[in-house]
Symmetry: C2
Subunit: 278 residues, 2 copies
């Protein structure tokens, strides 16, 4: 593991590290903010998964998470969104597939299965690395994310309810197996049989019996992807039937950008912190 | 004037506009955050001047100013740091001169004087444009900035005490006429006679009799430019002799980056807001 940078912020430290990854077949980079409380004891670990086209850096630059993380004493880790490198299969002109669009799944199809294993990377490899090297309490983990990363957070939490004690999302893709911008990627990564997509689809998982107690979602009403890509009402309906306590905040006039995310970032961190308190 | 973008943030709107500029001989871009209070009445206008290599966008992305601006009801305008365009003289490999390094002065030397007139651009042209088009109260203006932009804020305030009711800076270049990274630029923009640089040098201005009542400065102790470029003690000494009330906060372990700026951004905005209240 290599330290790329470290910079003091809100009395804590914003770190960036890179490390070789077996799951992604190459070097991966992640950001980790350690709040000042981490100097004296372990702190809860909150995972933030980013959306299409992002690296670890977008939310680090624009997410405005450090103030609330410092206040509540929560570490925030921000992984990249896909494997990276010249030897990683990609479609340069397609922002919805390939590098920057890993969709938090483990690909089964050639030539993608060699590198595109973001689920295994995050849930096993990066998890072990962080647990070994930093003062974080792995019994107190939460997860959230934006758009494609909201999809990642919801599906990871639904499949691992004993691991993640809290989950929330900004404008998540709640049913990627039927959304225009994700279905073609699922087909290429996972093959043409939709039965193999269900474990990567939050509403399908809930319909199939996966259960968590509660979910927080914020969604802007001026989001350009609301009707075609995001469709939070599908999650609302699934949660209602399943008895999952979904708080869905429709935010009047907000779009899909970090201006939306940053506005409600502190709310989400406070919500997680309350559920991750010792 | 063209609207480049508008995005809701913290109940206000983050705008970006571009417009033809006579002073800069070409198209210029600026960011303007209007807090929700601007929907019902005029609000104070706080100018943020950015540092070397920046455009209007760096602080918009990383400065974390919108939360405090929304809370206090202050508009924040972020101009670019130099003229832009293929026909603007530049030194591509020199980040301390040319595009991205306008130093908030009006150049007198050819070929720079045609475009490099950032003082006139900001204090006249952009000021008029903003006063005409937005619900801002021009009787309540404050100014702040970072590094080269801290120099800009201090010199603008010292020369225009009736216009700017408050001034602060993050890691300002307090004596650019003698600092390694600014002296060569002054020579090229203003000619070789140091007498012509004094009006663009905060400590020289104070020594020459310019007076304002108070200044707030935050400076990181781990700033890599502290000893050679910034040297806040020169400002402290000048203010002491002149009877100017300088609050100089040395911040242990903070560097020169936006992690430092964003950490103390809310303090600065609150400080300005208190002085810009009606």
């Amino acid at each position: 593991m290599k330290q790329v940078s470290a910079s003091k912020a809100y009395e804590g430290v914003q770190h960036v590290y890179s490390h070789p990854s077996e799951a992604c077949g190459g070097e991966m980079t992640f950001a980790l903010y350690l709040p000042p409380q981490a100097e004296k004891s372990t702190v809860p670990l909150l995972w933030y998964l980013s959306g299409l086209t992002c690296t670890h850096q977008n939310v680090m630059d624009k997410g405005e998470y450090r103030r609330a993380a410092s206040e509540h004493g929560v570490a925030i880790i921000c992984p990249d969104t896909s494997p990276r490198g010249a030897d990683v299969p990609d479609e340069k002109d397609n922002w919805q597939f390939g590098q920057g669009a890993g969709f938090y799944l483990d690909a089964t199809q050639e030539p993608f299965s060699r590198h595109y294993n973001m689920r295994r990377y995050i849930l096993s490899e990066l998890t072990d690395l962080v647990a070994e090297n930093f003062p974080v309490d792995m019994k107190r983990q939460g997860i959230f994310g934006h758009s494609m990363g909201g999809h990642g957070a919801l599906t990871f939490a639904l499949r691992n309810p004993d691991r993640f004690r809290s989950v929330s999302a900004f404008a998540p893709i709640v049913q990627p197996s039927t959304a225009d911008w994700s279905r073609p990627a699922f087909e290429k990564y996972l093959g043409s049989d939709p039965a193999n997509w269900r474990e990567y689809d939050a509403t399908n998982l809930i319909e199939g019996g996966s259960r968590i107690s509660e979910i927080l979602v914020d969604q802007g009403t001026a989001d350009q992807f609301l009707d075609n890509g995001l469709r939070p009402w599908l999650l609302r309906d699934a949660c209602q039937k399943a008895g999952i306590d979904l708080t869905l905040n429709m935010r009047e006039g907000y779009d899909h950008s970090y201006n939306f995310i940053s506005t409600f970032m502190a709310d989400h961190i406070a919500w997680h912190a309350a559920r991750l308190a010792a």
